[in-house]
């Protein structure tokens, strides 16, 4: 290994320990790591944005003489310039135009996407026969249908959770709680793998203590 490789590994280990030290308490090493992280990452993402969005996506399309729709990206450019008007008090209100554009586009687009892929698809896949297959399947199917139905009852806003309705809502919350508990328990393993990776790096790559 050359000097720079060794230097890189020592630097990486120092940064790793600096971040971990936050678990004990906030300290000067963590603050240093944080400052390095913020500075370099903000710079890094600007570089990616600049070359990828402004140069590759905008500039190459907008200046391509063979592109019959070369003028389209320029509308985006104008919207982009408008956002900078915030820097000037008098015309600052113009910066709301690009915001209004984004809000309209996102609201309209996602309204349909979420409706179709979240609501419609889930309803149609819940429509299924319950009493088929072995007793295990029957219980499983009933659970899915009952849970989905009661879960929806819980989300109902127009009726207070009282009486039979309240009972169903209660069952709905129980299902949600099982969902949350189960997903939580299920992710523990993958989270531990992340830590195993860092410990491997510290004790293996850096200190060479792992056989």
């Amino acid at each position: 290994m050359g000097f720079w490789d060794v230097f890189g590994i020592w630097l990486a280990s120092a940064l790793t320990i600096g971040i971990i030290s936050f678990l004990y308490r906030d300290n000067i090493f963590y603050k240093a790591c944080e400052a390095i992280f913020i500075g370099t990452s903000a710079g890094y993402w600007f570089i990616i944005l600049y070359w990828d969005n402004l140069y590759r996506k905008f500039w190459t399309q907008a200046t391509d003489p063979t592109n019959p729709e070369w003028y389209v990206p320029w509308f985006g450019f104008v919207l982009g310039v408008l956002i900078l008007t915030r820097l000037f008090n008098k015309i600052g209100w113009l910066s709301r135009w690009p915001l209004a554009f984004i809000v309209g586009a996102v609201a309209g687009l996602y309204m349909m996407i979420y409706f179709v892929s979240n609501a419609m698809v889930q309803v149609s896949s819940t429509i299924m026969p319950v009493f088929t297959g072995s007793w295990v399947d029957i219980i499983a199917n009933t659970t899915v249908v009952l849970g989905t139905f009661c879960g929806l009852v819980y989300f109902f806003f127009s009726k207070a959770h009282t009486g039979v309705f309240g009972g169903a809502a209660r069952v709905g919350i129980w299902f949600l709680m099982i969902t949350f508990g189960a997903s939580f328990g299920y992710t523990v393993m993958s989270r531990m793998s992340l830590m195993i990776g860092r410990i491997d790096f510290l004790f293996g790559t850096w200190l060479g203590m792992i056989r």
Binding site: M192, F203, I210
Partner: protein, 317 residues
């Protein structure tokens, strides 16, 4: 109750580090338990310390826990075990270096098992990036551990062929059309292992190990569903839930992630104790996971004890 059913996790205590770290965890938990019996909350930094030790100790001083295979794993193990010696098994190494940490342990264990049983093994891969991994594990497991086995007689390496599911589409009717020769250029006709193998139909078992595309799904759709050959699989943990629906009809058994590998290794070592010294990476990788899960569960129990005790005290007041 049989002696196997309730076997206490076999912790091989050979290293002093192991003893110390386990004692530390045990004594620490006991101390926390006593504290919580007095209804005292544990500082989160102590939780952090424990979880760190629980993960780091098994990495530094290998600590393993004996697993008991779940049905989904045992069915695959039993199939390999029950096939008569000389059966033809195809092992597909459909993974790349990124997936290798999870999938390689199971690939090794299954290869070892097949060769120990005296099956004839055909190795291949649908992944260009899997070729090097396949060659390496052949060098290590097959040639290194079973020097008496002969290339072309007891096993053969077909290597990689481009074409994804099209490769499967063709070998399902004819191996030679896709693989005129093995990876070393030896014509299949001149190898004795391929004497009576023409297509996938002539195999006794197919096991695909991977987690991407092409992978298990392609093997199920293009091979398993079309010819009547049992199909087993080993996949990375994140992919496993998507494959459960294929079990048990289209998939004989399924190893999911390091846990699946560890279960298989356990069964293997139980059946063939001499294989233990060849290494059980799956069990070893499960060490930190198991200990971490146990520590978390212990903390949940302790947390509830201290909660109930403090609540009872409040009621008394």
């Amino acid at each position: 109750m049989s002696d196997v059913a309730f076997r206490i996790p076999l912790v091989v205590l050979s290293d002093i580090g192991r003893v110390i770290s386990l004692m530390f965890i045990g004594a620490g938990l006991l101390w926390i338990l006593v504290r919580s019996l007095r209804a005292k909350e544990v500082d989160r930094r102590i939780v952090f310390l424990f979880i760190f030790i629980a993960v780091a100790a098994p990495i530094l001083f290998p600590i393993t826990f004996q697993e008991r295979a779940t049905l989904i794993v045992r069915r695959l193990f039993d199939k390999v075990e029950s096939l008569p010696a000389g059966s033809r098994v195809l092992l597909a190494f459909d993974f790349d270096p990124a997936m290798a940490p999870e999938v390689q342990p199971m690939a090794d264990a299954i290869s070892r098992h097949c060769l120990t049983k005296g099956h004839k093994v055909v190795f291949m891969t649908l992944w260009a990036t899997g070729q090097a991994l396949l060659t390496q594990s052949l060098e290590r497991v097959v040639k290194g551990e079973f020097p008496e086995k002969l290339d072309g007689v007891d096993y053969i390496n077909l290597g990689f062929k481009a074409g994804n599911e099209n490769v499967l589409n063709i070998i399902v009717t004819d191996f030679r059309m896709m693989f005129p020769t093995d990876v070393n250029g030896v014509p299949l006709d001149s190898t004795s292992i391929f004497d009576d193998i023409r297509s996938c139909k002539d195999l006794d078992l197919i096991i695909s190990m991977g987690g991407g595309k092409p992978g298990i799904k392609e093997w199920v759709l293009y091979v398993g569903d079309r010819v009547n050959v049992p199909l087993g699989a080993g996949v990375a943990a994140v992919v496993a839930p998507q494959l459960y629906p294929y079990y048990p009809k289209q998939l004989l058994g399924l190893l999911g992630g390091v846990k699946g590998a560890a279960e298989y290794e356990s069964e293997l070592v139980r059946q063939y104790p001499h294989l233990e010294e060849r290494g059980t990476p799956g069990l070893r990788m499960m060490g930190p996971q198991t200990l971490a899960h146990m520590v978390i569960m212990a903390f949940i129990v302790i947390g509830n004890i201290s909660y109930f005790i403090s609540r009872r005290r409040e009621r008394k007041r």
